[in-house]
Amino acid sequence: MKIVVNWALCEGNGKCEEEAPELFELDDEDELTVLNETPPEELRAKAEAAVRLCPKNALSIEG
């Protein structure tokens, strides 16, 4: 599983961080960092929730 961010769309709303803090973090400038781009399978549900709740539709999962 690989987390893909569409950086043209991401505006740092931080919904992914609320949903899956293990995987996403906004820095002090509200810029997104993906903490683990290839997370283990047990985090799939959380990653999918982050994808679903991103209001910009800027996240996707490959694999």
């Binding site: 043209a8 769309l9 002090d28 400038e29 509200d30 709740l53 209001p55």
Partner: protein, 417 residues
Amino acid sequence: MNAHSPGTFSYDPYAREVLENPLPFYRELQANHPGYYVEKYDMFIFTRFQDILDVLGVTEDNTFVGSESTLPMPADILHKNTGAPPLAPTDPMGPGIMLASPEYEELRLAHIKPLRPKAVKAIEDMTRELALDRLRELLPQGKFEIMGDYCGLVSAAVTCHLLGIPKSDAASVLGAINDLASYSDDKEGVDTPGMFKFLKSFIIPAIDRRRKAGADGEVPMVDGLINHRLKSNGRALNDEEIADQLVCSFVAATETPPKPTCQGLLELWRNPDQLAEIRKDLDTNIPIVTEEILRICITNQFGIRTAHKDVTVAGVDIKAGQRVLAGIYAGLRDPREFDEPEKFIWNREIKRILTFGYGQHHCVGNNLARMEVRVMLRAFLEHVQDFEFDMDEAVHAASYFHWGWVKLPVVIKQYSI
């Protein structure tokens, strides 16, 4: 033909009886006509929550663009396009909401830093002080119009702060926006192009002031655009082009947050048991009730896009040149997404929300709006122990833009400040 006669149902988002009360039309569209086609505007209407997400979620390849405005006057979409219409110009740069990718995203990212979560948190104390200043003046009067005199002036002052406009201009900014954003029978619409032109008269001097001050980042919404160089050719934007990127936020930030805040207080007044529950712990409960207020007390009706590619979405085949209407107000009342959707339930579970749209045009001000609603609600409920609305003097406006209360006189029965 109307919403109540099965078999003869017809819907026109701009028809007089829809402007007066769209709710029965939304219920019928949602129940029996997903993807309803309006021949007159060559446009498909989406009112179910998931369909709206699916349509607005198409963000690839400029499939849907706000190229004919996201809120056109009816006269502007009476013609049928033969294929995709022209995209908005990029030299000179067109208004932000009409642009296509990549310029649309590029110019948003160039100026929205102050609207991001931590940046909004940093102006929360200032917003609270503005709210308390208003309440100190208003509460001793015993009765006032809460939409304009309280919330409108707070939101307008925050907007002025963000755009480097003197806060002393807040009242004139608010008055101009409320006049211009209301539905006009003469023009048979809300004249958004006219409104944008007039409002630029506030923004252009602010840009000029920032240029003279060196655009050093102190007013990031303006300075970010002054300092931006277009990725395509490296050129800077002129004042007109910068103002065209800011005017939509200017209107939205000024007139939008007061509406859910005041209509939310109206719901709480009508549901005293729920208000009593909320009052038990304002710190915990205000953020919770804010979400329900943002679900059911907003006034924006819909957004429109034009297809620039053939696409099949939400079960409908759409050809390039045809239009789609995302009925967010209806979607927020979809029983497929929310139990008893018409009921105000302060602590209902809300997993997803359409209030701020979705996808490419998702509201840049969503963090700011949430904060303002919370702060204005909290300040009012903390300092007003008992109040009632004078509904005989309240004003409800017919419109396809903001449909809801525009004037709400409130009587203060007990306060402490």
